[in-house]
C-alpha cells in the first residue's frame, strides 16, 4: 500500500457496472513528509475520503475490488482504504 493525497475526482456515466455507487478519486502518491512520490492514479474510494486528505491506497487488484465494492472480481486495480490522521517517522 502507498500513501497518497486526494487531489480531485472523475465523473463518468458510462462505466463498468461494478463502479456504480463508488467515487473515483484522483490521487497523487506522496512520501510520509508530504512530498510527491510518483505518478498520479485513479482509485475507487472505500472510506469517504475527500479532496486534500492524505490516504492509504491499495494497488493490488483483488484487495482493491473486494474492499471498494464488497465482493471480488471487479475491474478495479486501486482503492482508497484509509484516511490518514498522522504519520510518525522514527529517526
Amino acid at each position: 500500500m502507498i500513501l497518497a493525497r486526494v487531489i480531485g475526482n472523475v465523473v463518468a456515466t458510462q462505466k463498468d457496472a461494478r463502479y456504480e455507487g463508488g467515487r473515483i478519486m484522483i490521487v497523487r502518491p506522496i512520501n510520509p513528509d508530504g512530498s510527491d512520490a510518483g505518478e498520479e492514479l485513479l482509485a475507487l474510494d472505500a472510506v469517504d475520503s475527500g479532496v486534500g486528505d492524505m490516504v492509504v491506497v491499495v494497488r493490488e487488484g483483488w484487495s482493491a475490488s473486494t474492499t471498494s465494492t464488497g465482493s471480488p472480481g471487479a475491474a478495479i486495480d486501486s482503492a482508497i482504504v484509509g484516511v490518514v490522521d498522522t504519520v510518525e517517522e522514527n529517526a
Binding site: 487531489i7 472523475v10 462505466k15 463498468d16 498520479e40 479532496v51 475491474a75
Partner: protein
C-alpha cells in the same frame, strides 16, 4: 486505474480465439492535467469508447474481469468514459 485518450484502433485478423469480438484501441495515458505520460498502449474496450474520448483504464489481472465468464487475455481494459474531471486548484501545475 489511469486516465487516457483513445488515439486509434487496432485491427488484428489473426488473433487468439478468446479475443474474437473484442475491440482493440490504442490509448495514450494522461495525467490529471491531461498531459501525455508514458507510452501508448493497446487496450480492450468494455464500455463502448471511441476515438478521441477521454477514458480510464484498469491494469493487470482485473482488466479481464469485465468480460467474465469469458477469459479474455487483457492487462489493459477501458472501464469508463470520463464526463468531467475535477482537480483542486491547490494541486494543479
Amino acid at each position: 486505474m489511469q486516465l487516457a485518450r483513445v488515439v486509434g484502433t487496432v485491427v488484428a485478423t489473426v488473433k487468439t480465439e478468446s479475443l474474437e469480438g473484442c475491440k482493440l484501441l490504442v490509448i495514450q495515458p494522461l495525467d490529471s492535467s491531461l498531459a501525455q505520460k508514458g507510452q501508448p498502449m493497446v487496450a480492450i474496450d468494455s464500455v463502448g469508447a471511441g476515438k478521441g474520448e477521454l477514458v480510464f483504464w484498469c491494469r493487470g489481472r482485473e482488466a479481464s474481469f469485465p468480460f467474465l465468464p469469458a477469459e479474455v487475455p487483457s492487462d489493459c481494459t477501458i472501464v469508463g468514459i470520463v464526463d468531467s474531471l475535477f482537480v483542486d486548484s491547490e494541486f494543479t501545475g
